[in-house]
C-alpha cells in the first residue's frame, strides 16, 4: 500500500501542478528566459534579458555551455561588462565583428559610447522596457514548428532543417572529432501509469556533445546504476537540469514516456 502511494506520488504532484497551471503551460516566449542582474542595477542600467529561444535557434547547447563557458545554472557565471569586452561569455560572439547569417553581431558592451549607441545597450539591457528589442519572439518564431502547449518544437525544427545550430566558433571552440553515433536506450519506469522512457542518446549528444552531461549530470553509463524519481527531476536533478527550464516542459509526459501504457 505504502509503495503504491509512493509510486503514485509523482503522478499526484504532476496532476496537482497541472491543475494549478491549467491551461497555462509554460509561456513559449518567457520559457528559458534568464534575467541577468548581478551588476546591471549597480551600474545604473536595466538588467539583461537573455532569450534562450533566440540563441538556441543559432547555437548548440554545447557551444555556449562548454566552449564559451556559460554555467548551466542561471546567475552562476557572474557575467559583467568587463568580461564581455574582453571577448568572453557574451563577448565571445557579440564583438561587433563576428557575423552570423551574413549579419554582423553587435558588440555587447563598451566603455565609451555615443548617445546613438545607447540604443544598442537596450538590445540586451531591456528588462521591463517596452519596444526596445530589435528581435521579437513572434516575428522570429513565425517559421518555427509549434508543438505541445504552443511551445516551439525544437526537435522538429532541427529535423526539418528550419534551424541549423552552429557547433563551432572560430577562436573559441575546439575542433572536435566527429561524434560517434550513440545508441538510444530505454529507461524503465517504476510507475504503472507511465511507460518506459525512450531516451534518444543520439539527439541529446547532437545538441550537448558528451562532456556537458557526463560525468557532471550523469556520473555512470551503466543502465540502472542511478535511479531518478520524477520528484528529483522536478527538483532540477538529472533531466531536470535542462527540461522544464530550457528544454521542453516536464508536463509534456508523452515526449519521454512515448508509448501508451
Amino acid at each position: 500500500m505504502v509503495r503504491k502511494v509512493f509510486t503514485l506520488l509523482p503522478l499526484l504532484l504532476c496532476l496537482q501542478a497541472m491543475f494549478v497551471t491549467a491551461g497555462n503551460f509554460p509561456d513559449p516566449q518567457s520559457f528559458g528566459l534568464v534575467i541577468l542582474k548581478n551588476y546591471s542595477p549597480r551600474a545604473g542600467v536595466a538588467p539583461v534579458i537573455f532569450d534562450h529561444w533566440l540563441h538556441r535557434s543559432l547555437f548548440t547547447c554545447r557551444l555556449c555551455h562548454l566552449d564559451v563557458g556559460f554555467a548551466m545554472e542561471a546567475g552562476e557565471t557572474k557575467i559583467n561588462a568587463a568580461l564581455n569586452m574582453q571577448g568572453v561569455y557574451c563577448g565571445a560572439c557579440h564583438d561587433g565583428k563576428k557575423t552570423i547569417g551574413g549579419k554582423t553581431i553587435f558588440a555587447a558592451c563598451a566603455e565609451q559610447f555615443s548617445e546613438e549607441e545607447v540604443k544598442r545597450c537596450a538590445r540586451c539591457h531591456s528588462w521591463k522596457k517596452q519596444g526596445v528589442r530589435e528581435i521579437t519572439f513572434d516575428a522570429f518564431t513565425k517559421k518555427l514548428p509549434v508543438g505541445l502547449g504552443k511551445n516551439i518544437d525544437w526537435e522538429k525544427a532541427g529535423e526539418e532543417g528550419v534551424i541549423k545550430p552552429l557547433d563551432f566558433l572560430e577562436g573559441i571552440s575546439v575542433q572536435y572529432d566527429t561524434l560517434q553515433a550513440q545508441q538510444d536506450f530505454s529507461i524503465a519506469s517504476e510507475a504503472d501509469w507511465a511507460s518506459d522512457v525512450i531516451f534518444s542518446h543520439k539527439k541529446h549528444a547532437l545538441w550537448n556533445g558528451c562532456a556537458l552531461c557526463h560525468p557532471g549530470i550523469y556520473a555512470s553509463t551503466k543502465a540502472g546504476t542511478v535511479k531518478y524519481s520524477m520528484l528529483q527531476i522536478f527538483e532540477g536533478e538529472s533531466c531536470g537540469v535542462c527540461h522544464d527550464k530550457v528544454a521542453f516542459s516536464l508536463f509534456f509526459c508523452q515526449k519521454c514516456h512515448r508509448n501508451p501504457v
Binding site: 562548454l66 566552449d67 564559451v68 563557458g69 568580461l83 574582453q86 568572453v88 575546439v174 575542433q175 572536435y176 572529432d177 566527429t178 561524434l179 560517434q180 556533445g209 558528451c210 562532456a211 556537458l212 557526463h214 560525468p215 557532471g216 556520473a219 555512470s220 553509463t221 551503466k222
Partner: protein, 97 residues
C-alpha cells in the same frame, strides 16, 4: 621574400618563440580536449595518457598572468570538464573489463 624570412629568422628568433610559447598551452588544450567525442573508443592506456596530459596542462593555464585572468578562468573550467569526461570514460572502460 625568402631572404627576408631568413633575416627575420636570424634576428627575431626569440620573438617567434615567445609568441609560439604563449599559444602553446592552447594548442595542447585543443589537441587533448578535441578528442572527447571519441573518448569511449579509446583504450584504457590512451585515456590515462589524455588524463595525464590534462593534469600537466592545468598548472600551465593556472600560471597565466593577470592580463589573461578571464581566459584562465574559462579554460580551467573547460579543462576540468574535459578531464572529468576522460576520467568518466576510463571508469566506464574499467567497469566493462
Amino acid at each position: 621574400m625568402l631572404v627576408l624570412q631568413f633575416v627575420c629568422s636570424l634576428v627575431l628568433p626569440g620573438l617567434g618563440n615567445t609568441a609560439f610559447a604563449s599559444d602553446d598551452w592552447k594548442n595542447e588544450f585543443n589537441t587533448v580536449c578535441g578528442q572527447t567525442q571519441n573518448a569511449l573508443a579509446f583504450s584504457v592506456d590512451e585515456l590515462k595518457d589524455l588524463i595525464a596530459r590534462c593534469d600537466e596542462l592545468k598548472p600551465r593555464i593556472k600560471k597565466l598572468d593577470d592580463s589573461q585572468a578571464t581566459e584562465r578562468k574559462v579554460f580551467l573550467q573547460r579543462l576540468k570538464m574535459c578531464r572529468d569526461f576522460y576520467a568518466f570514460a576510463l571508469g566506464t572502460k574499467v567497469d566493462q573489463q
